[in-house]
Symmetry: D2
Subunit: 365 residues, 4 copies
């Protein structure tokens, strides 16, 4: 209820602060019998971890995960799986200067007013570092969904500030520091240059991320409030710095006519996917397609007006190690959140309707 | 868990189908001592009800609400408040022709595959008619929030298809059939003409809706998953036909720099509101600002390709009474969902931190 | 969260007060495809309803149930099932004299202090009348469990005050006004005489009720907090007037040795059932056996000391229509609560482990 | 939902197995601003830990707790508090002989059938060792309740097998190895002798435990399903080996008349406490009084009939280190569960009704 648990049947409860002794999570509801070791989880954490290029925060964290429970002889037992990640590179001093004032665009102000007490070290609980345990938990969900339905998750950056990245192919994603689905070397160079300039200026920039899930059973989602797309929106808007979410045609739907938007069906399947794989809150079996808008990092070196705890005017500059574009590392996080939503709905559907029929064979989705 | 309850502490459980005997809801968690009669609820239902202009469905429903419980001598008792609305204008025959096939863009296909059984009368449970009980429940939340903090909710249509409606003033909203915050008679006439053309063509169109909440205490929202903005996104994406949600600057954040996006603070308050009233998932005390994209109605007269339950190709046309733009009646619904989210968070905050301090007096928000 | 919903996956949200316009519930999570009409529900309500003998309250209620939603063409659709029961015999005047003071042993005092407002008509929300909707909801659960696993529920009164009722056979239960599993006419006559004396004295008496569930799959229940027996204890202690709950050997376990208590196993099944069908919080496949202690009705004619709202001493007598032993009508209610617990756990188990295997064939349970 | 989280607003999610690397929990919902260090928690863990006398398991565990998050500069921040306890004395070999068969009275059988996989080391997740994290979490709840309302918790063993322990005074509890509220040296010696004989025989025995909470505000509890007593019954029956729960007069209520059972009120307070501090599911402000029945330990050296996984008959003896009476260490656990229930309800009440008024001054409770 205090908002540190994600999911109802595959529930992930996270804990920890950016510069505390450790971060981690407890996953409750993982079905028994899934082969699982740290080696299933670590690669996903590595995709998200800091320090992988000069365009992300230079904090040095190995993000080594330890499974504390829920696995016996390499197989899940149906009991809670606890994941522990020790923080290695804590530098409380970097943040001393902002303990008494509020960074514009940052959670400093609201935490202070909500709780009357605030851990200022690295943003404390509000740090994007807290997405690591979720990425770890989602690695387990991804494995189960893959094994059960062949589901796969893919994500890419489709826009960096005003640089649009036209989609070419998923295979390009791991080959550049931006998760761009593009093999256009000139474009990548332009992105690198833009990031270098920002870093030099002590500023930051927004980004747009696209994620999809493929091979989803028909029928996941609840019809009224726990619609699949509502839960996806909740999951995505809950990622640090996200300010907008679209499913399928998204805001483009505003200018579409019904005769254009509604995806027609043939015996071979749907024609088009304006729905983004969801109709009436329930999966159609098509690809689930999601886009999110990520705001620019709020911790920047550029001095800005603010106030201190007593309401007096101050100028704030932030000197710690930060991602000049939090969107860069957001791709694996957005995939993770999508996986957690689908996992939860897969179990919920099984509760209500029994073991899932993937789909009717004559509909090529 | 099956997705028919909205909210955790102020919980609204709805029931009913478009053409069943009745629709309604049970509201659990309303604080005791709130003066309440049907007269507090009916006006909100009237703003949303069908048949108020030629641009919305012509179904005739008085949407008369009856309070069945939870109120004694005109005051809430802290026990569940049940609201009942009898369906008056049921016409099952209008839908007979689509019971065996799937309308493109409609929940027909997914309900059928999920449940193996489907109530085709007026879309059954997937009908937008099911937003009526929520609007009723939200009237109670609005009254409590207004009384407690002076909170007010406002909404308007900001785009109808490709017709953008520049914001002039909230006072115009009730004076046109579109909830447009504009007194520009020529613009309204253009919207009317566009709707008339669509109706003639048997087609439909999308829309964009903006809603805001004013006079919100600082500190509402939970930091990680039940972020205030995440719950708003969940609530909005859960409204029928919504495909996109933005908070504050929304997708515009993608092209903003950190030095531009982060709202600076002065002793007199924030400068700007790119945050949309939420930082780190917690309310800042500024206006909460939300925009949503609504797809065109999927039930249209234009014939389209589809399949029947056996997978055979069919042409589908829909002849019932439908809103040619579901966005028109979405404004009070979006306000209602926003009110329910804030009500729930207000109670949650009170659980965790005690009675709410509205905000520090020297910050003019 | 405000405690008016029972169950997580098969959720029953009730509403209403003893003398309000109606009582009822919304059942969310019923699997689709279950044949269902009012005729499946009414007989269970009739077993519980008032006025069936001179030993229970003489309030005249037909307790006629109306299904408002969730059923189409006689089959559940997977959407919420709302049940409505109109109150017919409201007599607010019977309770006027106690509106300003607190009956000893009654919820009057605590409701008043909790909410600061109280509906005194017939005990308002605290009336045992509110068990009617749950009995209705449980009729649906019973039908599903019966169809799925052959599960049956049975209950009887095993003690009325100091009159112990030795178990003879379940077939006797409907043949006497006490739900006694006894064909001993002399014993029944003694119970009738005891009740007549109490009624004459304006006093009331406690009772003990036993309920069992037969043909339960192995494996229902969660290991740590949502143990099957913990949820049963929660359900039973939540019934009006219950002060004690036992599973299996219950308080007799205190004096047992481990070598005696632990039910041994053979290839033909368990020897004995001290466990009451639950080990480690999970069903063994044996009968689930439960006993509950029910306190005497608190509304009695005998004058007693109390205070009024201002803390001044008063004498309180209650003249309304009451059950002189609330235990008499508790048998169908206890069965109902047990059915709701098992239904919820059956769905939960299905979510986590897939479709339930009833049990290994070589274990005769 | 998978039953590893206790509480809704003060939520404790536990993880770990008896012989895994670590056990622990995440506490979500602790109000901010509570001074907290490990020194507040360790003493409660020490009361419960193994090896404190020859009458409990000889497993050597320091049960040293580490706070991983949620505390900054010695004060809770409102974010999740993770507690970690490393397992130090793991002996997997002790349990090798029972990995393939089922101990009578133990969770072996049900875990195996539920999950199809089972961690047999020390009972895995079903071990009473898993009560340690809850005791740790409850130390925090106790501190908050004490600070807020002056609430205190007390517990004692009132019966060991057939040896009844008459209550003398709470001050005796820490001065004997049984948590007996008795200074009767002869009685304690008799209990010691009984335990010595059991240990020699390789058998075990049941016990009865009483716990109370004092200085509780009036008004905690929800009226229908989340009644305070229902939640207490759930919490208590969920403790390992508990088979019965009573509130107030408990099973004694069965033979009481209404004129005797209902606690009368005077301007100075209640006369008597048959209610056990709860009326209509809501606290009266009197002491909350609870009794529980604990079955004898199921792991005993005495050989018994059982079956193996293939259904073949086997004889089972258990040679590991076990408590010959699990009831002995149950007292601090029962106190802990009671504290967690009251904490949760205190927050829930605050959500619904605002900051709690402890009680009206003219009622001496």
């Amino acid at each position: 209820m205090s908002g540190n648990t994600f999911g109802k049947l595959f529930s992930v409860t996270t804990f920890g602060e950016s510069h505390g002794p450790a971060i981690g999570c407890v996953i409750d509801g993982c079905p028994p019998g899934l082969p699982l070791t740290e080696a299933d989880i670590q690669p996903e954490l590595d995709r998200r971890k800091p320090g992988t290029s000069r365009h992300v925060t230079q904090r040095q964290e190995s993000d080594t995960v330890e499974i504390l429970s829920g696995v016996y002889q390499g197989v899940t037992t149906g009991t809670p799986i606890a994941l522990l990640i020790r923080n290695e590179d804590q530098r409380s001093k970097d943040y001393g200067n902002i303990a008494e004032s509020f960074r514009p665009g940052h959670a400093d102000y609201t935490y202070w007013h909500k709780y009357g007490v605030r851990d200022p070290r690295g943003g404390g609980r509000s740090s994007a570092r807290l997405t690591a345990p979720v990425v770890g938990a989602a690695a387990i969900a991804k494995k189960w969904l893959q094994q059960q339905y062949g589901t796969v998750f893919k994500g890419c950056m489709s826009q960096l500030g005003d640089i649009v990245v036209p989609f070419q192919d998923w295979s390009h994603v791991p080959n550049n520091p931006f998760f761009a689905a593009s093999g256009d070397a000139e474009l990548i160079a332009r992105m690198e240059a833009a990031m270098d300039a920002l870093r030099k200026d002590g500023d930051s920039i927004g980004a747009k991320i696209d994620v999809i899930a493929q091979n989803i059973p028909v029928g996941l989602g609840q019809p009224i409030y726990d619609k699949l797309d509502a839960d996806i929106a909740y999951a995505m808007m809950g990622i640090n710095a996200v300010k907008g979410v679209e499913i399928g045609a998204g805001f483009q739907s505003v200018v579409q006519k019904g005769s254009e938007h509604g995806d027609q069906l043939t015996p071979q399947g749907f024609i088009g996917n304006n729905a983004g794989g969801v109709l009436g809150g329930i999966s159609t079996g098509q690809d689930i397609t999601v886009s999110i808008a990520i705001k620019p990092t709020s911790s920047i070196r550029t001095p800005r007006q603010s106030i201190d705890k007593d309401g007096h005017p101050v100028m704030v500059e932030t000197f710690g190690r930060h991602d000049p574009c939090v969107g860069i590392r957001a791709t694996p996080i957005a995939e993770a959140m999508l996986a957690l939503v689908l996992m939860d709905h897969a179990l919920m559907h099984r509760a209500q309707c029994g073991d899932v029929q993937v789909h009717t064979p004559n509909i090529a989705l």
